[in-house]
């Protein structure tokens, strides 16, 4: 495949004179601290890792940085990075015949063995097509030759890669660290064996191994009404179901060790440490929480070591303690205090994406901001009414929330941000209007607790999108007209309030992008033609409101689905039955489908379920199916002050 000797056309030499004509040229230059450039001829397997969004968003992505480091630590492997180029650069590249390139050594993406693309969101799909086309790789996987890389999707969106199966060769489900090493081994062995049966031979090996899903080796049959009849492997040896990967013992994988420090400005300018992976809070809308089970904590001492080394290696001033719900780490109090002590007076700030509504979070936030400014705290009640929060299993009462924010304002925090969703299953107009009541009560209580009137509360609302591998995977997505109507009414109710209106900010986006996200999230292989048509019509950067065109998506969906039993609404606003074969049923997240259906029924009945970390197992199915277990502390260890040399 690809190229074994590094006799490339000099991309950099051709690119350099053109850079003054594009916006923010530094993003195409590379040269980040800790970037790795290896000798092409000295390595056996070569990966191009892509984050399908602009450099400023893609560079800080943890997943790509981890895999970049894990792969480059192997002597026989080379990994470089590539990002989506802005439309001005795309035009320049097309005019001058410059192919999609890596920023590390400016090599053509097509020369690599594997193009690994990390999809955090489905809205990056059109950007994949731009990159393939610029790279000179056939857009349709079936048209690729032995001279093209294997196009491999990963990231959360890869748990239902069906809408992009026309364009990818394989998909990895779950944690990537071990999976990329295994794929590297397979590619290397196949090369050593003399590449038997070319590209198809390699894909067959990948599929048979079970390390990744190879969609071209499965047939999908449909019923006359449009639903899927069945998904069947085409050949013997190809597994009926493909499982996700789960890395156990995060202490053995302390990446990123040497994070990339860009020269260009990016969306996150900090050293981030994942303090645990997985979440079993059981919020029913949350795909991340469902597909990353079980909870695996990184120990307090590993977190401490990573922070120490990360700060020294990068010079970042901010440390982020990441996870799906960071306050849930069994030793978060000790971690926060230990780090705050260690960096007292050092101008290193610590941040915790604190989304749980809990007074303990305030104690933590106080500790982390010990000598810093107390500007804003963020909480995510997600549902406006008590009833709604039972449906989504966000176990927090309004009194909890009010107590929490009162403590926050009383401790000198000036602003509280609250996240909600609109369009949740069973939601009524009244459920959404209760967000306004909650916000007013927050301000009233906050003014009392702070003893001053200049406190603020911002409510931020997103439209709910039902996701695969969640109990809401069967739910009807709410049509965007109703979402927009409810949000407008809510906004009016807040703004028109004489006492509190000026203290409450409200932010939301219109519901239309969410409908397209819904199409791409729960779509099947027939959606690929829509993606392709949208891209051909100019669709790019769909995650950016200034580039996203709902009208184009709607028009293309109508054209593609004309004379078929399916439609944009069929994929989005239609509720599914238990008996329906879902497009991702052959992709195994470990969650038991019967348990998920029960949980969906519990949602409708407003029955809550507790976290399995502190209550008995409720048989979601993940641990026994995947051979994994919950890994939590406490370890009882402490963070020691840094030794002074």
């Amino acid at each position: 495949m690809p190229v074994e000797s590094a006799n490339f056309p000099g991309i950099w030499e051709r690119l350099e004179p053109l850079l003054p004509s594009v916006q923010k040229p530094i993003q195409y230059v590379g040269g980040e601290l800790h970037a790795t450039s290896k000798d092409w001829d000295e390595t056996d397997v070569r990966w191009a890792l892509m984050y399908p969004d602009a450099y400023e968003v893609g560079l800080p992505n943890q997943g790509v940085q981890i895999l970049y480091e894990v792969l480059n630590e192997r002597a026989d492997t080379l990994a470089e990075r590539t990002y989506s180029v802005w439309p001005d650069m795309e035009a320049v590249m097309r005019t001058h015949g410059i192919p999609q390139f890596t920023v590390d050594a400016h090599r053509p993406v097509r020369a690599f063995d594997i193009l690994g693309v990390s999809f955090s969101t489905e809205l990056g799909y059109t950007n994949l097509l731009t990159a393939l086309d610029l790279a000179g790789i056939a857009i349709d996987a079936c048209d690729r030759t032995d001279d093209d890389p294997i196009v491999l999707a990963g990231g959360h969106a890869a748990f239902n890669p069906e809408p992009i199966t026309d364009f990818i060769d394989a998909a990895v489900l779950g944690d990537g660290e071990e999976a990329v090493l295994r794929i590297t081994d397979i590619v290397k062995q196949w090369k050593t064996d003399g590449r038997p049966d070319g590209r198809i031979g390699l894909l067959q090996r990948i599929a048979t191994d079970g390390v990744a899903y190879v969609p071209s080796l499965y047939d999908v049959d449909y019923l006359p009404d449009g639903r899927i009849q069945r998904v069947v492997p085409k050949r013997a040896g190809v597994p009926w179901r493909v499982s996700k990967h789960t890395v156990m013992d995060l202490d053995k994988w302390p990446y990123p060790k040497r994070p990339l420090v860009p020269l260009a400005e990016t969306v996150h300018e900090r050293y981030s440490v994942e303090i645990f992976r997985g979440c079993t809070r059981g919020c029913r809308f949350c795909q991340a929480g469902m597909i990353t089970r079980p909870v695996r904590e990184r120990s307090i001492t590993t977190v401490g070591d990573m922070v120490q080394r990360g700060i020294a290696a990068t010079g970042f001033e901010e440390v982020g303690l990441l996870s799906l719900s960071s306050a849930d780490h069994s030793e978060i109090g000790e971690i926060a205090k230990g780090l705050a002590d260690r960096y007292d007076g050092d101008n290193v700030s610590l941040s915790l994406p604190s989304t749980r509504v809990d007074a303990f979070n305030i104690t933590l936030a106080n500790e982390l901001s010990r000598n810093g400014r107390r500007t804003g705290l963020t909480f995510a009640p997600e549902g406006g009414s008590e009833r709604m929060r039972k449906v989504i299993n966000k176990m927090v009462t309004e009194d909890d929330l009010i107590r929490t924010v009162a403590t926050a304002y009383g401790n000198g925090w000036r602003q509280v941000k609250l996240y909600f969703m609109c369009g949740l299953p069973t939601e009524t107009d009244d459920d959404v209007m209760q967000i306004a009541d909650m916000a007013k009560r927050v301000i009233a209580t906050g003014r009392e607790a702070a003893g001053r009137k200049d406190i603020r509360c911002t409510i931020s609302i997103g439209a709910f999108v039902p996701k695969p591998h969640t109990p809401f995977q069967w739910a009807a997505q709410l049509d965007h007209e109703t979402v927009d109507r409810r949000l407008k009414a809510l906004k009016a109710a807040v703004m028109n309030d004489k006492n509190y209106g000026k203290s409450i900010g409200i932010r939301y986006h219109d519901g239309r992008p969410a409908l397209i996200e819904g199409l791409l999230s729960r779509g099947d292989r027939r959606v690929g033609a829509v993606i392709r048509r949208v891209w051909e019509g100019g669709g790019r950067f769909d995650g950016w409101s200034e580039h996203f065109s709902f009208d184009r998506w709607e028009r293309c969906a109508t054209e593609v689905f004309a004379d078929t039993p399916v439609s944009l609404d069929w994929f989005t606003t239609r509720e599914r039955e238990l008996s329906e074969v879902l497009p991702w049923d052959h992709l195994d997240s470990g969650l038991d489908k019967d348990w998920m259906w029960e949980d969906w029924q519990d949602a409708i009945r407003e029955v809550e379920v507790d976290d399995c970390r502190w209550t008995p197992c409720y048989d979601c199915g993940v641990c026994p199916t995947m051979g994994t277990e919950i890994q939590t502390g406490p370890t009882g260890r402490q963070l020691l002050p840094l030794t002074v040399v």
């Binding site: 530094i26 230059v29 400005e265 300018e269 990068t314």
Partner: protein
């Protein structure tokens, strides 16, 4: 009462260091904003005992002196930093240079003896490398340009399009050919006085194209070679005026010797 940071105010500046750095090769595409951020991180990686401003969001004491435009290379950029503990300037030069990526290079660090670094950069010496331009053609353009009374060019500024005179600020200009490459390549060097609004090398290139019809088929490579004070003595005919490096008074004060 709004919260105030606890504890004593941050330690004061005990030593000021003036730094000359270069922006070379592909890293010339670093904007000044990008460089400033990278520089602050390098200060931390080099573990320099920076002095900080007071308040909830303390900033290290860093004062910038101008900055070459994005995409323009430079051999002579200047910045001043304040330390809370004194350090040997040459150690700082070594550590800071090691903490910055190759291409962003720290070339000189001297202890500031007297304030006024900014006042000691009065003009810049630029080099315009023009691949694909025959030396005779550049020679003609330079001669004609220097004869002009004024060379008005338009530039898009924050407050809209403005016309500036690219001729008046040019103190001297010179051209020669580069012979060691396969294709013709002219080199124009010039000294431009710093004015408000500043006349950038881009403005001069625009003027050369528009007023004396110089055609540049390939994007020129622009480098700032030096900054400093213009000499008292006018240059010999055909020579460019010499610039005095702004670090000279500091070096002289520290070592008692004239700079090398």
């Amino acid at each position: 009462m709004a919260r105030q940071p606890d504890g004593p105010p941050p330690p004061p500046v005990v030593q000021r260091l003036a730094i000359r750095y270069a922006k070379r090769g592909r890293l010339r595409f670093t904007s000044h904003r990008d460089f400033a951020r990278a520089f602050e991180r390098a200060l931390r990686r080099a573990e320099l005992p920076m002095a900080y401003s007071a308040g909830f969001t303390p900033h290290p004491k860093v004062s910038w002196v101008g900055a070459a435009p994005t995409g323009v290379a430079s051999e002579a950029e200047y910045v001043e930093i304040g330390l809370a503990e004194a350090r040997e300037p040459d150690d700082v030069r070594r550590d800071l240079d090691a903490a910055l990526p190759p291409g962003l290079d720290v070339d000189a660090v001297v202890e500031v003896a007297s304030k006024g670094l900014a006042d000691r950069v009065e003009a810049s010496h630029w080099r315009l490398e023009l691949p694909g331009v025959a030396p005779e053609e550049a020679e003609r353009a330079v001669t004609e340009f220097l004869r002009l009374e004024a060379a008005p060019v338009e530039r898009l500024m924050k407050d809209g399009r403005r016309t500036i005179d690219a001729r008046a600020a040019v103190v001297g200009m010179h051209s020669r050919g580069e012979t060691d490459t396969g294709q013709p390549c002219a080199i124009i060097t010039l000294v431009v006085r710093h004015t408000t609004p500043a006349v950038r090398p881009d403005d001069v290139l625009t003027a050369l194209r528009q007023t004396v019809a110089l055609s540049t088929p390939i994007t020129p490579l622009v480098t700032r070679l030096a900054q400093g004070l213009l000499g008292e003595v006018p240059p010999a005919p055909g020579e460019l005026p010499q610039l005095t490096d702004p670090l000279v008074p500091d070096v002289a004060a520290t070592t008692g010797l004239p700079p090398a």
